[in-house]
Amino acid sequence: MPGGTDSTRHPAPGTERALIYTDATDMIEILQYGFMVNALAAALLAAVACGIIGVYVVVKRIVFIGGGIAHASFGGIGLGYLIGIEPVLCAIPFSIASALAIGEVSRRVKIAEDTAIGIIWAMGMALGIMFISLAPGYAPDLFSYLFGNILTVPRSDLSVMLLLDVIIIVVVCLLYKEFLAITFDEEFATVIGVPAHKLYLVLLCLIALTVVLLIRVVGVILVIALLTIPAAVSRRFTNDLKKMMLLSIFFAASFAITGLYLSYIFDLPSGSTIVLVSGIVFLISSLRSSGHSFKY
């Protein structure tokens, strides 16, 4: 296929796809492909998780931690290849371990948190490449983990994603007021009797689960985009954390579906199209609210 390494193109037959379809009937035509239905379901499931968790990542300003966990989880994917386990399932414990390491290392060893993140980020990536090079044979899906391949999401992955969504929603519902207290002012929460550090670790584990879930959709490298952009856009519309979560689920779902649709029509890689759509909407929304200088 022209375009080489990109595994995210849908298997469309060449030239016909160059035409631009705009009819609603084409949307129905798209849905006749089973893989497109799976892709839509994956997009919606990912939107729920990154809408909720992305809000915490953005308001607590720990985007860098999200990036660190995402890249470290690549080590788990590599390990999965090496020992012959489904890579995404292997990435779950791996990313949780790296989340806990990031949360604990800076507390116990005397190094700055961002230094710890940088080290774990690079170590995870290096381990992943090492494991894959040791694995027998060729690893054909490697790029789909780096850049995502929402079009090849199997049904089994959808149920894993659904389970992770349920876990995230239940934990956030139970600990909503505690999470609000520790993200706003961790020190005060500690003093007032909230087990702030333990809950912070729980939050980091939820970020790790979300990251694993997003790997299928946009890949390790672009995870940060779906964690931050929908939350950042929704921040411009509300000052309430709960509304921000609902809005950012909505934005994440819209970005993913729009990106998916555009990637289908123009035969573009889905993960990067989703991210670019998100980024463009963010730019427009920031122009809108920077106010006076853009009024005529």
Partner: protein, 251 residues
């Protein structure tokens, strides 16, 4: 001194940071209905002292007793008002929700009860910030924000209030209102306030201590000029604003 109504007791506390002492041999006793001001230069260990009382910093030597127990166990009974400059003003949270976080340690899991909400409303009313309860925290002035943080501390029904530089960066006329609020509160609880503003503090507090690694305290409002000079390491001129309080004993 009656040991029974002692709320905070520090005995020969030392805190070192990387081999350099931050607090040296500090002893302090705060009792019910005390309004103690702790003054001293920046970097003199004032915030560290508060963190020792709150159990956030463990002393290298010495004993700390808070409300008859360990700081870590008793600190939920302390109302803590940190320096407001440390907050992210852009955080998406309303004034009411900030105050409610003062209740977040009372029960794990689940929602705030109607009792929590009543206490938060009451605390906001006490600091005269109830009309602002739906406002985002960043859309308040420095003085208003400070009152919200006091309300948050009050919502936890504390027995002692610790304030860290509460008047820093707040306009003069707002400061006056603010100290009057503390005057009202001290009828119900002990208050310890940290400040680097000697004159403002000396007008309202009942007792003053000076801290610059070592603590100079005579369980009264009287400080000798020797104390102040030892604290600030230079002669300090005190202006009393014509208030009928004597800050300095004459020499």
């Amino acid at each position: 001194m009656d040991i029974n109504n002692e709320i905070i007791g520090l005995r020969n506390v030392w805190v070192c940071c990387g081999g350099v002492p931050v607090l040296e041999d500090v002893s302090l006793s705060v009792h019910q209905h005390d309004f103690l001001g702790i003054i001293g230069p920046n970097g003199g260990g004032k915030t560290t002292l508060l963190k020792v009382v709150l159990g956030l910093v463990k002393p290298d030597r010495g004993e700390v007793v808070v409300l008859g127990g360990e700081p870590v166990e008793q600190r939920k009974r302390i109302g803590y008002v940190p320096q407001h400059s440390l907050f992210d003003p852009d955080f998406p949270i309303s004034v009411m929700d900030v105050v409610l976080t003062g209740r977040s340690g009372k029960s794990v899991f689940g929602r705030y009860t109607s009792h929590d909400r009543e206490l938060a409303q009451g605390a906001l009313a006490m600091v005269e910030m109830l009309p602002f309860k739906d406002r985002q925290i960043g859309r308040l002035s420095g003085g208003e924000r400070q009152r919200v943080f006091i309300a948050r501390a009050l919502a936890a029904e504390p027995e002692v209030l610790l304030l860290d530089e509460p008047a820093a960066g707040v306009d003069m006329h707002i400061q006056t209102e603010f100290y009057e609020l503390l005057e009202r509160l001290k009828k119900e609880m002990a208050i310890v306030m940290i400040s680097h503003d000697i004159t403002a503090v000396s007008i309202y507090v009942d007792k003053i201590a000076c801290l610059n690694r070592r603590l100079f305290y005579h369980n009264s409002k009287e400080l000798t000029s020797w104390d102040i000079e030892a604290t600030y390491q230079c002669p300090v001129e005190l202006i009393a604003h014509g208030i009928p309080h004597r800050v300095l004993r004459e020499h």
